[in-house]
């Protein structure tokens, strides 16, 4: 007689696994990776390779020899490595990526218990770790030669340039006009910055892909971008000389990269719609405050790290609406 399997319903599992989801995010990042390779060439490729390899090695060693289990998802680790590399200056040396990878995986992820347990987004933690440890290396924006042969963007990032200009008392609009720093240029890969920040268009293409594949919901990115747009518009209307406008802020720096790919990390973001909105507003407000009034020209990373800390509370207090009272 045949042997039958007897197990409780439901009788099938989701065809979409964690690996598929992470791979989808990697696919969504591929336009941004491609554009950065075209513009920053071999050095960008080297940063990606070192970062990913370091993350994989760290995770593998710690899971295998300290926790005695298999790595739950190599895709998630690769994703952290790619995101970290996209957050580095294009001309950074290999050891920046190496140390960043160790910080991201060994400190931010494995110390908390590995996949699913970390409080902070590992890639962002890695970037901020590098930023406070090696401020000079992390803010040197000399661009290496790209595969397109375009001698692109040496010098400061648009945000840094504005920050520096304002300190010297030059009106914001004048800095942007004189420096050719218009935010619209970032849309088509013409402004400097971290490896992955180069083209807003490539990041938005990835965003669309993630939405179509239902990997993420639009709530978090749209709340962040909406909050930033609203706040910067208000400040800009109050004093256009001192404050940069919404288009410039939305399209420059790591805002899109952060809002689309970093703030939406499942593990470190809330699960309910209300929680997501509060979380998005926190990131938006912190980003604007740091950019306008902080010591750093760029605030997205810090904003996300701060918001990450509120996630356990948001999950606790923002319960989904029940079917019935």
């Amino acid at each position: 007689m045949a042997t039958l399997t007897v197990s409780p319903a439901p009788h099938f599992q989701s065809p979409v696994t964690t690996r598929h989801l992470m791979n989808d995010v990697l696919i969504a990042l591929s336009p941004a990776v491609l554009v950065s390779l075209l513009f920053y060439g071999w050095n960008a490729l080297m940063l990606l390779a070192v970062s990913v390899a370091t993350c994989l090695l760290c995770e593998f060693l710690i899971e295998r020899y300290l926790r005695h289990r298999e790595v739950p998802s190599y895709s998630a680790t690769i994703l952290t490595g790619v995101l970290l590399a996209l957050n580095l200056p294009p001309a950074a040396s290999w050891w920046i990526a190496f140390i960043g990878g160790i910080a991201a995986i060994a400190i931010a992820k494995m110390c908390f218990g590995g996949l699913g347990q970390n409080i902070f987004n590992p890639a962002i933690f890695g970037r901020v770790f590098l930023l406070v440890s090696f401020p000079v290396a992390m803010t040197t924006w000399a661009a290496p030669a790209g595969w397109l042969g375009v001698d692109a963007f040496s010098g400061a990032t648009p945000l840094a340039a504005v920050s520096e200009g304002l300190r010297q008392g030059i009106p914001a609009s004048q800095i942007i006009a004189e420096g050719g720093l218009s935010g619209w240029k970032a849309l088509f890969a013409m402004a400097g910055g971290s490896v992955g920040e180069i083209s807003a268009l490539a990041l938005i293409a990835g965003f669309v892909y993630l939405l179509v594949r239902r990997v993420i919901r639009p709530t978090i990115p749209l709340t962040i971008l909406g909050t930033v747009a609203l706040l910067t518009t208000i400040f800009w209307l109050i004093n256009p000389d001192k404050f940069t406008g919404p288009v410039f802020n939305l399209l420059s720096g790591g805002l899109l990269l952060g809002a689309i790919f970093m703030a939406t990390d499942y593990v470190t973001s809330p699960m309910t719609t209300v929680g997501m909105i509060i979380y998005g507003v926190i990131i938006g407000v912190m980003t604007v405050l740091i950019r306008y009034f902080g010591a750093y020209p760029e605030g997205v990373s810090f904003a996300i790290l701060i918001a990450n800390m509120t996630v356990p509370l948001l999950n606790k207090y923002c319960k989904p609406k029940r079917f019935a009272a």
């Binding site: 039958l4 399997t5 319903a9 609406k321 029940r322 019935a324």
Partner: protein
């Protein structure tokens, strides 16, 4: 037109309605049947026949034990060979009446013709008595005795009778075929139940993936007032009572409440058909429509099967259990029960036999929760399965109760969407049982 649906959660599993275009065939008379005394929710019926008795089709062989219970009838004519406990589909030992089939003789007074009898005669009480005497239960799978649902408490008034033709489970097509081939009987059954309840409005709700059934029911209900046939969006678990009421009326059954609290009574289309047979044809519930399906079968089928037919005999009729089938599910893939014993027999609630291969039903080891929140988004009751999973594993019954684990309808949406393959419903189901035990014990104090 915007199609109706329930507002919260839900999933879209692959439809796999393989047998939707296969007409209902009458399954050959089995040689032996074993009829369970526990085919309804509530207390098992008490056998009223003994070994050696001869019985006819439609003769009572089990009488209700207590209030929530029901009659059981012989589905065949022949000689009772045993009245003994046997393993049912789930492997539980339950009293069965075993009958060797001889001929096919119906009990007196049963009308076996196919003519549609339209005149509904008798008072509400008489109709209800007939429904009760026919042993009719909720045939969507819950098997709650129908006559109890048709007499709500005096202080509650039914406004709507909702006939459930959602059939949102993948694979199952028994209701679809029934609605397409017997729409008049379904509509008349609904009218009978409406008369019993004293309600003016009947809503027959069908999902959009069954356009032929929708058309047939529209045609069949044209000549009557007070019957509305509506199409709903395709979404699981639309056929769940609470979800269906939400979809049709926008009302929500309160936590711990009953459908009647919203003024609604929900009955399945197959129940409606059985009510028609009982009242208009004097024919007790002795057979039902059953889908036999699965990708591993050459030809999925829809059968009209006598209740008590051994599963092994049904499988033999479709070419035997395929080599690659490792699981036989009674019901659909979302909520059906795995069959533990092929010698077990069909029951009033058996809507489908689904054969699954190892690849289709594999359970891969669970990975870690990455807090994607897909389970929460899928939950039609607005619960947080990921949290219930954690609390359940920790045995924290207080917190489980705070998080309303008792609202879970066990539809399986959470587990079927989990990308980490965490057996969420396994944990929630057993934790819910623990919490319910505590709640009941507290109520008794």
């Amino acid at each position: 037109m915007k199609l109706k649906t329930f507002k919260m959660g839900g999933v879209h599993p692959a439809e796999n309605k393989l047998s939707r275009d296969v007409a209902i065939e009458t399954f050959p008379l089995p040689k032996k049947v074993a009829i369970s005394m526990a085919q309804h929710l509530g207390a098992p019926a008490t056998p009223v026949v003994q070994k050696g008795d001869t019985v006819k089709v439609g003769q009572v062989i089990g009488a209700p034990t207590g209030f929530v219970s029901g009659f059981v009838h012989s589905s065949v004519s022949g000689t009772v060979t045993a009245v003994e406990p046997r393993a049912d589909i789930a492997g539980n030992m339950v009293m069965h009446v075993c009958i060797d089939v001889e001929g096919d003789e119906y009990a007196e007074g049963i009308n076996t013709t196919d003519r549609v009898e339209r005149d509904i005669k008798g008072t509400a009480e008489q109709l209800l008595e007939k429904i009760k005497a026919a042993g009719i239960v909720g045939m969507g799978g819950a098997t709650f005795p129908t006559h109890i649902k048709l007499c709500p408490p005096k202080d509650k008034k039914a406004e709507y009778l909702i006939i459930n033709g959602a059939e949102c489970e993948p694979y199952v097509t028994a209701d679809d075929r029934l609605m397409r081939e017997h729409p008049h009987e379904v509509v008349l059954g609904a009218r009978i139940m409406a008369k019993v309840l004293g309600v003016e409005s009947i809503v027959i709700a069908v999902e959009e993936n069954k356009p032929e059934a929708y058309d047939a029911l529209c045609d069949a209900s044209l000549r009557y007032v007070g019957i509305e046939v509506i199409q709903m969006k395709k979404k699981y678990p639309q056929g769940g009572e609470k979800q269906l009421i939400d979809a049709v009326t926008g009302r929500r059954v309160p936590s711990g409440g009953l459908p009647i609290d919203t003024g609604c009574v929900v009955q399945n289309v197959a129940t409606s058909y059985a009510v028609y047979q009982a009242v208009q044809k004097n024919r007790p519930l002795t057979e039902r429509i059953m889908t036999v399906t699965g990708q591993c079968l050459e030809q999925p089928r829809n059968f009209r099967v006598r209740i008590g037919t051994p599963i092994s005999e049904i499988l033999a009729a479709v070419g035997g259990l395929p080599e690659d089938a490792v699981k036989v599910v009674s019901g659909g893939p979302m909520m059906g029960k795995a069959v533990a014993n092929l010698e077990a027999t069909t029951q009033k609630g058996s809507s489908c036999l689904l054969l699954l291969t190892a690849a289709q039903t594999a359970r891969t080891p669970e990975s870690v929760c990455i807090s994607c929140g897909k389970c929460s988004q899928a939950c039609p009751m607005g619960l947080e399965p990921w949290r219930l999973n954690r609390l359940g594993r920790a045995g924290n019954t207080d917190a489980l109760e705070e998080n309303k684990i008792y609202d879970c309808i066990e539809c399986g949406c959470c587990q079927s969407t989990c990308p980490a393959h965490i057996p969420l419903l396994d944990i929630v189901r057993s934790s819910k049982a623990d919490v319910m035990k505590i709640i009941r014990a507290r109520a008794q104090k």
